[in-house]
């Protein structure tokens, strides 16, 4: 995908984790699922956000895992954690209460406003593919100050003009319905091609950076809507030696997610 020589020895997971980690600079609380978000948050904790507290939807606050967790409820997250809350407290007080700075989400489909589909491909009533559904994504979107989306696949089917189903609406859709969401919705989408950004309600996702060797046209071609492009598109700084060393040696030495 990214054919620049500076990143040839970097896997796609490493690239996404490093880029996402940088976006967490100076953040206090992050709501993270397992996988890339955990890698990104753990790396940020060691680099740009030493005060970062990772909150898991299972109820764990301030985990200090001895090993990288394999699930959001891995026992290693509980042993030695600062707090484990019931789910009503976690979703009600912590998340809906407005204590999350950044929520991480993924999706099968995303549109230009950052609305997400994780329910079905095809019709909801008779789907071609039944996907897992919201989980806590609707709540993460509605209540986090901002949301980062990490998408491994950047193609027109995933980055679509019209979602097959809107499971998880961004605040634009909520405002249309007359409700007042707390946060700004998706502010960053990090993919193998680059970074899309969005400043707030009423704004659409805009290409702000590409990885070395990726062209703006490549991103446009792989996006299913007429992609807005920033006046100046930056080139993403490739993962540094320090970042890669920490990620490989400290965060995920067993390469649980860095496949």
């Amino acid at each position: 995908m990214t054919d620049s020589t500076t990143t040839t020895d970097v896997t796609s997971s490493e690239l996404l984790a490093v880029v996402a980690s940088r976006e967490l600079a100076a953040r206090r609380t992050v709501f993270a699922g397992i996988g890339l978000p955990t890698l990104a948050a753990s790396l940020a904790h060691l680099t740009v956000a030493p005060q970062l507290e990772i909150v898991y939807e299972s109820g764990v606050c301030g985990a200090h895992p001895s090993h990288l967790p394999e699930t959001i409820a891995d026992a290693v997250l509980i042993t030695g954690a600062e707090a484990v809350l019931s789910m009503p407290a976690l979703f009600g007080y912590v998340l809906q209460g407005g204590h999350i700075d950044v929520g991480f989400l993924g999706a099968a489909q995303i549109d230009k406003w950052g609305n997400l589909n994780t329910s079905v491909i095809g019709d909801w009533d008779a789907p071609k593919v039944r996907l897992p559904g919201s989980g806590g994504a609707i709540e993460v979107m509605a209540n986090s100050r901002e949301v980062f989306v990490v998408m491994r696949r950047h193609d027109p089917r995933s980055f679509t003009e019209k979602l097959d189903f809107c499971t998880t609406p961004g605040p634009d859709r909520a405002v249309e319905e007359g409700l007042r969401p707390l946060g700004t919705g998706v502010t960053r989408v990090i993919t193998e091609l680059g970074i899309l950004a969005r400043a707030g309600v009423g704004e659409e996702l805009t290409l702000v950076a590409v990885h070395p060797g990726v062209t703006v046209d490549q991103v446009r071609e792989n996006t299913g809507w007429d992609l807005a492009v920033a006046d100046t598109v930056e080139t993403v700084r490739p993962p540094g030696a320090d970042e890669l060393r920490l990620l490989r040696e400290d965060v995920d030495p067993d390469r649980v997610y860095l496949r």
């Binding site: 299972s58 509980i78 809906q96 071609k128 919201s134 989980g135 806590g136 709540e139 909520a174």
Partner: protein
């Protein structure tokens, strides 16, 4: 009470059955016994419909599912569930889709005997168009801008029976859970009847040494079932670890209806009860899921002297 007696007494054809446990302490053994006893037409309520739900679907126990996540954890798909939903194969499945907090709020409403529970989700979502349970209420208090404010609400869920798995309880049902406690207390209080399956039944003194650890008091519990390792392939903090290999294997097993049938035949119908399932897995297997020690430091509940 044995698991056989508990399922026979408290789970009937056509019942609404809640099985809770968020990744931790999933009541798998109870699900298997429901399969063995051949229950039909159940409505299953479970936030994360995962392997045990896929198995109950495959065994033909379930006609309706109420859930907020229908997937095999992060390890892949649920084959039977997808066949039922995508192709009505071998029969349709009625599915009510919520988000996690929507499910939590349904339990909260059920536990508190409320007609609804408000939450700040669903604004702009397509879910209300396919789920009649997601409605709106206008607050009688003005919003921050002085204008009327609307908020979504969900209806209560009051299962006929809730079954949960826990680390320990005393004989009368005072139930203690540590690590992830999930939504188990709310699911129990929301239900008409509650069955608590535990790793071990302990002396009264153990429970009473730490009353804050009691997540569910005995007055809310109708039956206590001792069933060690009854949460496998999920885990019980301090007792045994999660069987991640089985989670990964399930996507393959469940993708093929024949393999899935064979699996049920061997591991559920082919075992008289969970004790047989446990011993069939073998001690070496269980050794691979053994956990270390990380004991909580004590606190003092001492009262005045004299």
């Amino acid at each position: 009470m044995t698991m056989r007696e508990a399922v026979s007494s408290f789970v009937h054809d056509g019942d609404t059955v809640s099985l809770e446990g968020f990744t931790h302490l999933i009541p798998t053994a109870a699900g298997h016994e429901i399969i063995r006893q051949g229950r039909r037409g159940l409505t299953v309520v479970r936030m994360t419909a995962d392997i045990v739900v896929d198995q109950m679907l495959a065994a033909g126990c379930v006609s309706r599912l109420v859930s907020s996540f229908v997937g095999n954890s992060s390890a892949g798909s649920l084959g039977e569930l997808r066949r039922r939903v995508e192709k009505a194969d071998p029969e349709p499945l009625i599915f009510e889709e919520y988000s996690h907090y929507g499910m939590i709020c349904r339990y909260l409403a059920g536990a508190q005997r409320l007609p609804f529970y408000p939450l700040r989700s669903y604004g702009g979502s397509d879910l209300p168009s396919v789920n009649d349970g997601l409605r709106k209420v206008t607050s009688p208090f003005p919003g921050p801008d002085g204008e009327p404010e609307q908020v979504y609400v969900v209806p209560p869920v009051n299962p006929d029976v809730t079954i949960i798995h826990a680390q320990r309880a005393d004989r009368s049902g005072n139930t203690q859970i540590w690590g992830l406690t999930g939504v188990q207390a709310e699911a129990v209080y929301a239900a008409d009847k509650a069955v608590v399956v535990v790793e071990e039944i302990v002396e009264d003194e153990v429970v009473r040494s730490d009353p804050n650890r009691t997540v569910i008091p005995s007055h809310a519990v109708d039956a206590v079932v001792a069933c060690p390792r009854g949460a496998h392939p999920s885990f019980a903090q301090g007792y045994y670890d999660r069987d991640n290999a089985f989670y990964r294997a399930w996507s393959g097993i469940s993708k093929d209806p024949d393999r899935l049938r064979d699996w049920l035949k061997e591991w559920v119908y082919g075992t008289a009860d969970h004790a047989e399932y446990v011993s069939k897995l073998g001690e070496e297997f269980w050794d691979s899921l053994a956990v270390g020690e990380a004991m909580s430091l004590p606190v003092n509940y001492g009262r005045r002297l004299g």
